[in-house]
């Protein structure tokens, strides 16, 4: 999903910057507010800023396919730190990856932030909340959020490239490149997301209660 510089039409690249900036601005405001209100928020943010950077650049080789790809990490960050804060973490990670490793571009930072940060975070967060409302356990709800949040990032990138790219290739062309590798990898992202939330619930349930993710046990 790291769209490179030069692959998007200028007006689309600017447009994605504008949309992502709105979410990032709200995210910065929320980070400041929640850091003041909750002592636990800063270490959590520190943990997930490094985790999102690491997860979203780590190429995982898939044995049956001979290809590799990376997860997003934003569904997990969104569940625990909130979707707006996760958007900011995503933007920072993508900026560093673009500047240092040519993984994604500077002009396409807005588009990449939208797919990984906004869509990955909000869909993951929304599915987690929906899963909990349906009575699913924390782990299962987070796992589903991880799987579909991951896939949604790549589906969004496919649409961005198909409709805002310098060449009008079809969405299916890009989905055909991304999905065979991303489908199995999304399971890994789901398991990591579910595993992390389950681990916190077992070791430090007070964190989930403090952050409003889970209710206090009576």
């Amino acid at each position: 999903m790291h769209i490179q510089d030069g692959f998007m039409i200028g007006k689309w690249a600017v447009g994605w910057y504008g949309v992502s900036a709105v979410f990032a601005a709200k995210g910065i405001y929320e980070i400041k507010k929640r850091s003041r209100e909750n002592q636990m928020f800063k270490p959590l943010l520190g943990l997930f800023s490094a985790a999102v950077f690491f997860i979203s650049i780590l190429p995982v080789p898939l044995p049956g396919l001979g290809t590799s790809s990376h997860a997003a990490g934003t569904p997990m960050a969104a569940i625990l730190a909130g979707p707006f804060a996760a958007t900011v973490l995503s933007m920072i990670a993508l900026l560093l990856q673009a500047a240092l490793f040519a993984h994604g571009g500077i002009t396409t930072l807005g588009a990449n932030t939208f797919s990984m940060g906004v869509v990955g975070s909000f869909l993951g967060y929304g599915l987690f909340k929906l899963g909990r409302k349906l009575g699913l356990s924390l782990g299962v709800a987070a796992c589903i959020a991880g799987i579909f949040g991951d896939l949604a990032v790549y589906v969004t990138s496919s649409f961005q490239l198909a409709y805002g790219g310098i060449h009008k290739l079809s969405v299916l062309t890009f989905l055909g490149v991304y999905m065979p590798t991303q489908l199995p990898l999304s399971l890994v992202e789901g398991l990591v997301t579910g595993g992390m939330v389950t681990y916190i619930a077992r070791v430090r349930p007070d964190i989930l209660v403090n952050l409003g993710i889970d209710k206090a046990q009576k």
């Binding site: 049956g64 396919l65 040519a102 991303q182």
Partner: protein
């Protein structure tokens, strides 16, 4: 509803596992090529536009290795430190 989600969950896991161990051609000529690289390659083939060089060229000598090591070390230290703050033995005591 819960059982419906759970049964669909099992199907999704099964499909993903089948995909994981089934060789599907995604036109990866080189072994372990990333999906982002495959897109870059396709765009290059069709449009002639290739992915831009990074702002800082890390392909010279051991610079790439140095930066990846520093990046991995920094991320690992941050995760490890914050992990200890949050889940370490002392964290539990502090919040008692």
């Amino acid at each position: 509803m819960k059982s419906w989600v759970n049964s669909w969950g099992k199907i999704i896991v099964l499909v993903v596992l089948v995909l994981l161990f089934t060789p599907i051609s995604v036109s990866a000529d080189e072994k372990w090529l990333g999906t982002d690289d495959l897109v870059d390659k396709k765009m290059n083939e069709i449009t002639g536009v290739s992915a831009k060089e990074p702002l800082i060229d890390i392909s010279q000598g051991n610079l790439g290795l140095f930066l990846f090591t520093i990046g991995g070390f920094t991320a690992g230290t941050m995760v490890g430190y914050q992990w200890r703050v949050m889940f370490g033995e002392s964290a539990g005591k502090k919040n008692d």
